[in-house]
């Protein structure tokens, strides 16, 4: 790979762009799929739309194949910067891509029409296209190391999300969409302003560039903090962390369930990734002392606000929305430690969180299919009628709480371990508070996670009109989500072995 810092000629830049293309195949495959699906949707009759999902599934599987090729080459130590340092292809980003692909595939499987249910047949083509677009956006965001690229990727995610959340076409959906756009636009504006300040400070947009970091060293801490906070607010919006969580409950309630499951996972993890890249670039300036405190406060407040709000919810999707805000806080804990162990714990948590959260949304979808309602009170007594679904629900909920024997416990265990280890070596009191609040929140969360199994088993069924529709695909999918959740408790090293081989590349090493 040619060294850009020495050769600035246009031909060299072009040469690098052409060279980068070969490392950009998964993204290209997604982009081409979007075009093909779009054209197919335009020229075919509405009845054939279910093939759209099949197309998208194939596209994601193909992308998965291309991504695994990247993983293999990265395992041989070939981490690289693409397109004139716009993107970085390290093992961490490839891992994240796998997570997003799994989330995308699960979303498609969850939206798969089931024969007995007519309205599902009319899945709009736009939904499929936008979903693939959303996956592309998360792919780009987790690799971005240039502020402009960050902005583009973030907006790609946002624009796809805004439209997706109004897909139901009903009033709550429109309301949610409007709220989403307004909050999103404001936080984007914040972020863009912050980015322009950074450009003013350093004359560079590459956060991994030594000149960027060097430029920051000369800046007074106050403007630096303000600019940093502005930029981070855009990321926190995607993570749905406090104080940018306000949109989440309405959007989750108003959007189609499979899409919500994707929202709650992929953009959140992509947002965390860019936050990791940004703050770790920052920590070179040795300003991490108070960034740690600020982010720890965000984590504590996200956990606490999310959990306390979730307790009062009656609507299952709203409850899961607040629960995902709280999980965002737990994920942030791994970042706040600013240690390798913390990042490993975060990646483990993220991977398990995908499984747990999709399982939870799938359960809500299955229960909704039985009672045609999302109010949790209508779920009464269903566990006794459908014992297998009931037991799977218990496993999913105790995993979300973080109790053994589920991988949810291992994930929380690693996060708490990383906080304690960081505290033991640095003795910063904020880490101790973080730990205490994290533990305290685990107890709080039990109160609402237990509510669904409680209603399923302890209450007599109040509603007699229960649809007895069998949805084999979703039931099987649920079983396949629950098995790894249990298996990865007993053999967590299988996943952690992969995660331990992952490195984040924060700084370009000049040859």
């Amino acid at each position: 790979m040619p060294d850009v810092s020495q050769m600035q000629g246009l031909t060299n830049k072009l040469a690098e762009i052409t060279a980068s293309v070969s490392s950009f195949l998964p993204e290209i495959s997604l982009a081409v799929s979007i075009i093909i699906i779009l054209i197919y949707d335009l020229i075919t009759h509405k009845r054939q739309r279910q093939y759209l999902l099949l197309f998208a599934l194939v596209a994601l599987l193909l992308t998965g194949y291309l991504t695994s090729l990247q993983w293999l080459s990265a395992s041989r130590g070939a981490e690289e910067f693409l397109f004139n340092d716009m993107l970085v292809l390290d093992k961490a980003s490839i891992f994240a891509k796998f997570v997003f692909l799994v989330a995308g595939i699960l979303t498609i499987l969850m939206s798969w029409p089931d024969r007995a249910h007519k309205p599902m047949l009319s899945i709009p083509g736009e939904q499929v296209i936008l979903l693939v677009g959303l996956v592309l956006g998360t792919f780009l965001l987790c690799m971005s190391v240039n502020l402009l690229m960050v902005y583009l990727a973030l907006e790609l995610i946002s624009l796809c999300s805004y439209i997706l959340c109004t897909m139901n076409g009903d009033k709550p959906g429109s309301e949610a969409g409007l709220k989403f756009i307004l909050f999103g636009a404001v936080s984007s504006a914040f972020m863009l302003y912050g980015m322009s300040l950074f450009y003013g400070f350093t004359g560079s947009l590459h956060i991994n560039d030594p000149s960027f970091v060097a430029g920051l060293e000369t800046i007074h801490w106050l403007p630096l903090t303000v600019a940093g906070l502005l930029v981070i607010s855009g990321f926190l919006f995607k993570i749905a962390a406090f104080p940018f969580q306000v949109w989440a409950p309405d959007v989750y309630q108003g959007s189609p369930t499979p899409i919500v499951a994707f929202f709650s996972v992929a953009p959140k993890i992509a947002g965390l990734f860019i936050l990791i890249r940004f703050t770790n670039a920052y920590s070179f300036v040795d300003l991490a002392t108070y960034w740690q405190e600020i982010l720890a406060a965000v984590a504590i407040l996200s956990m606490t606000v999310g959990n306390f709000a979730a307790i009062r919810q009656k609507n299952a999707k709203r409850m899961l929305a607040y629960s995902s805000i709280a999980h965002g806080g737990f994920l942030l804990c791994g970042l706040v430690t600013f240690t390798d162990f913390g990042l490993s714990a975060l990646l483990f948590y993220a991977a398990i969180y995908v499984l747990m959260n999709f399982a939870a949304f799938l359960i809500v979808m299955l229960l909704e299919g039985k009672t045609h309602s999302l109010e949790m009170d209508t779920f009464k007594g269903l566990g006794l009628k459908f014992p297998v679904l009931g037991v799977l629900t218990i496993v999913a909920m105790i995993a979300l709480t973080g109790l053994p024997p589920t991988a949810g416990f291992t994930a929380k265990f690693l996060i708490f371990s990383s906080i304690w280890a960081a505290y033991a070596s640095s003795a910063k009191p904020i880490l101790l508070y973080l730990l205490i609040f994290g533990l305290f929140n685990t107890v709080i969360s039990l109160a609402y996670y237990l509510k669904i199994p409680y209603l399923l088993f302890f209450k007599e069924s109040a509603v007699t009109m229960v649809s007895d529709r069998k949805d084999y695909l979703k039931n099987i999918l649920l079983v396949f989500l629950i098995i790894p959740i249990i298996l990865l408790f007993f053999k967590s090293e299988w996943l952690l072995y992969i995660i331990n081989s992952i490195t984040f590349v924060f700084q370009k090493v000049h040859k």
């Binding site: 162990f341 490993s344 416990f409 371990s417 304690w420 280890a421 088993f457 007993f490």
Partner: protein, 585 residues
Amino acid sequence: MTAYLLSLIIFVPLFGALIILAIPSAAIRSIKYLAIAITFLQIILAGFIYSVYEKGPDAPAGVHIEAAYQLQEKAPWINLDLGSLGTLSIEYFVAVDGISITMVLLAAIVMFIGAISSLQIQVKVKGYFFLYLLLSGTVMGCFLALDFFLFYLFFEFMLLPMYFLIGLWGGPRREYASIKFFLYTLAGSIFILIAMISLYISVIDPAATAVQAGLIDHVQEATSENIIQLQQMMRENKIDAGNMVHTFNMVSMADSANFIPGSLLDVLNQKLIFGNAARLWVFLALFIGFAIKLPAVPLHTWLPDAHVEAPTPVSVVLAGILLKIGAYGIIRTAFSIFPEGAVHYSWLIGFLGILSIIYGGFNALAMRDLKKLIAYSSVAHMGFVLLGLASGTAEGISGAIYQMFSHGIIASMLFLIAGVLYERTHNRMIEDYSGLATKMPYFTIVVVIAFFASLGLPGFSGFIAEFLIFLGAFNAANVNQLLPRWMAIVATLGLILGAAYYLWTLQRMFFGKYFGKDAAWDTLLRDLRPIEYVMFLPLIILTLFLGLFPQFFLDLVNQSVGQLVTLINQTGKENLELILRHISL
């Protein structure tokens, strides 16, 4: 055969639970008999463990010496690479010593009696016995696990079957009671979790680390010289952090030489957290976590609700075994790993003990519901356990373990008694009955025996237990100054209270002229049925046997208790001196 004895006693019930899942739910009788057969098999296994366990003055006695544990089974389970922190090794490690073997015997007996009592369960039988066997296996696992992670797994997993057993088969307010039980115990286990995390980050497995550091080739080769050499090297910072093997082994944790120098829980560590040493904080975390389970006043409020709402067999298991896990946890983790905490906080532990004794006693006196009365008497009796432990003397700690066993037997009887009445009339109010002795003479004899055993009449196991505890608590002022003498004196008030509420209840419910609130009870209140004799007789024989031949039990625990007492009074005091040098409290 003996090689896998401990695994068998844990996994046979779990396997049985799976078999029950495969039986069609209509086959109620076969489910019930299978559950009883499996719990009986557990008794046989426990008896077998008892017979192969080496007893006597020279027998290896465990506590803080790994080689002195008997029937050890050890296998690697999870090995995680923590990067710069080294590696983390979680093992499947089970073994018995004099303390845990008593609890295993108790658990096997109570689980069997509980299974017989569960024959009365009529609804959702399959689910009930599935959960019951699950509980039975995890309880055994809790008493046998010596790897903290494994212990924690069993400890937490126990909550789920218990939650559903109370919540699905309980009384009118079962939902409230089961959630309260779950939340309280989870809050407790969060304290234990934080202690566990802080411990494994600070503690290494010397043998495995020696392999990593290249001293030896294989863990099995490690001799005590190797280990001392490695601990010495670690003190001198000659071991690279990346080579350290962090362990959950509770026995390794009990040796302060295995703590990484400079780590927060190192004895020589001078950093304070909120003005107190980290080791003392973690001791408190463990103590509070288990005190909720015990339960000690003021953390006891879940207990009366859970007991009152739980069905009879679940109450029996809860009082007979689950409370003991709290006390066992304190001995196995808090006292053995942080003996200095046992010294430093002996006053607090003793005070909570007498608080539980007095508060539990007065509450029991005021209760109108027989089951609530028994629940509060449990609180008082577990207070005696705390008092005995706090004394740090051989008599006191033996007494505490004796009390754990004895209360397990007696509380089971008491809850069965409440169950006998409730099954007949669905009413447990003391004031609604009178003169039951004339209607149910044999039942009254059983009640008198159980009540007298519980209030500590000589000849019953409760007497020996409380006698030893008082001996220890009074002696502590002379021997090791861990408890002031007034605590023992105040605790004697508990004996008087116990006599008062039991005798008063006897007088109100059983003596005098027959009266039942409802005329229909005349026919309902029949004397004991054969199946009820089957439950009561073994328990009566046991409490009498242990009351008359305490040597039989004490021989089993003496060695281990002796080691624990030395640990507390020597290592504990030395450690405390090191720690307190830096603290001006």
